[in-house]
């Protein structure tokens, strides 16, 4: 055990600068993917409630496909599959677009559930006291819906954080790829993959605890 652990201080000086830089890429990748997924997901959720049939059909179709296809297949398609068509994406860009478009399908469902959970009397009451549809959405519907969707959104963020690891397979220079490279160079796969797992855990666990707190508070307030 001591022997196993002593490898870390010996190599720390050479590993840490690379690992640290890679962790930043992981964080940025997660943030970009989440932002893209939130925007696209919101549009899809609103589109699914649209009065125009074509828009509704498109949004429903998108959500179905995004939820049925692995993010890895989307990443490969974006990164390798588009090359013959002349579109060459950077590994980071392909990574966050692929993950974001994939997660958008889930986030759309989260938003939709949130909006639908608000009783329609709320909107009617807001309109009847003279609010415009926009202000009623902004001040009555949205604050209540946000409360409901906060926990599932955070869950999605955790899933995205973990899923950024598969971007290593299209050579985005994030934590998992760096761990793999260092493992190959030093012949210490167990040490490096455990280190990577610990670092992912340290990033993800605080989010998990926060999510659970919110869930508990939500359950209490709604009874």
């Amino acid at each position: 055990m001591i022997e196993f652990l002593s490898v870390y201080p010996e190599n720390w000086a050479s590993w840490w600068p690379q690992i640290q830089a890679a962790m930043w890429v992981t964080v940025k990748l997660t943030a970009c993917a989440f932002a893209l997924a939130a925007v696209v997901g919101m549009l899809l959720a609103v589109g699914k409630l649209s009065k125009t049939r074509a828009i509704r059909a498109f949004c429903t179709g998108y959500i179905e496909v995004a939820r049925g296809v692995p993010a890895l297949a989307v990443l490969f398609l974006l990164y390798y599959g588009l090359v013959p068509t002349g579109l060459v994406l950077d590994a980071f860009v392909a990574g966050f677009i692929g993950l974001g478009l994939s997660a958008a399908g889930y986030i759309a469902e989260v938003f939709r559930a949130g909006i639908e959970a608000i009783h329609k009397g709320q909107r009617e009451a807001a309109l009847s006291v003279g609010m415009t549809p926009m202000t009623s959405f902004r001040y009555i519907i949205l604050p209540q819906a946000l409360r409901i969707i906060l926990a599932p959104l955070l869950n999605m963020l955790i899933i995205l954080l973990k899923d950024t690891s598969i971007c290593s397979l299209i050579s985005t220079p994030e934590l998992m790829l760096r761990a793999k490279d260092l493992a190959m160079m030093s012949f210490l796969p167990m040490h490096l993959f455990l280190l990577a797992a610990v670092l992912y855990f340290l990033m993800s666990w605080p989010l998990s605890i926060m999510t659970r707190r919110i869930e508990i508070r939500m359950r209490r307030s709604t009874g």
Binding site: E64, V65, R67, G68, V69, P70, A71, L72, A73, V74, F76, L77, Y80, G81, L82, V83, P84, T85, I158, K162, D163, T164, S165, I166, S168, L169, M176, A179, K180, A183, F187, L188, P189, M190, F193, L194, A196, A197, Y200, F201, S204, W205, S208
Partner: protein, 218 residues
């Protein structure tokens, strides 16, 4: 058109072969995950404190680290320590343990949703603790947990794509090999994506059905 169909035909064969393995990995890790999840959720109800802590640690660790890291540790990490695990077994163990953590939480939520009175009533009419779980608690738990279990199965099916990284011969693995031999990159990855969709679509419909039925019950 004919050339196109010919292309689909030659590329589709190997991908279908991979799909068989994908289904195998999915089914076996699903079974492992259900067994682990149910067992640990039940243990959490009655086991001594230290066991419950261990289960909690297991759940937290596996839910907060990427499945790719878990699979790499089992496949590359253990090989370094002298334990050789075949890629297919490593895939099933990794995905199964990962899913076990997810389903422990799902079953725990399902079990705790059953009112305490159900168990007390069962015991008071003379059932043993085990029969009360088997015949009173579990049947009601299934009803609640079926939709999240179904969603987990879909997520699992998609997650199997990740184990191509340890050379488990599933869809993505065949797709990557085909790319190096045919260079039909775009077609191959679109076909692979369609194949996953074809596999997950029926599951998604099943989950929809469960969710509707559950809503009707409430």
């Amino acid at each position: 058109m004919e050339a196109f169909l010919q292309k689909i035909y030659t590329l589709g064969g190997p991908l279908l072969l991979g799909a068989v393995t994908t289904v195998e990995i999915t089914v076996l890790s699903f079974i492992a995950a259900v067994v682990i999840g149910l067992l640990f959720a039940l243990l959490k109800l009655g086991a001594p404190r230290p066991f419950v802590w261990l289960i909690n640690i297991y759940v937290e660790v596996f839910r907060n680290t990427p499945v790719l890291a878990q699979v790499f540790i089992i496949y590359f990490g253990l090989a370094y320590s002298g334990i050789k695990v075949a890629s297919l077994s490593a895939a099933i163990i990794g995905l199964g343990l990962n899913g076990g953590a997810v389903l422990t939480e799902v079953f725990r939520a399902g079990l705790s949703a059953i009112h305490r009175g159900q168990r007390e009533a069962a015991l008071s009419v003379g059932m043993t603790p085990w029969t009360s779980i088997r015949f009173i608690i579990l049947p009601q738990t299934w009803r609640i947990t079926l939709p999240p279990i179904g969603n987990y199965a879909i997520a699992l099916l998609k997650d199997t794509a990740v184990v191509s990284a340890i050379a488990a011969p599933e869809i993505m693995f065949y797709a990557r090999n085909l790319v190096t031999s045919t260079f039909e990159t775009t077609y191959i990855y679109i076909l692979a994506a369609l194949l996953y969709f074809a596999l997950s679509f029926p599951l998604a419909r099943l989950v929809d059905h469960f969710e509707k039925r559950q809503r009707a019950w409430q």
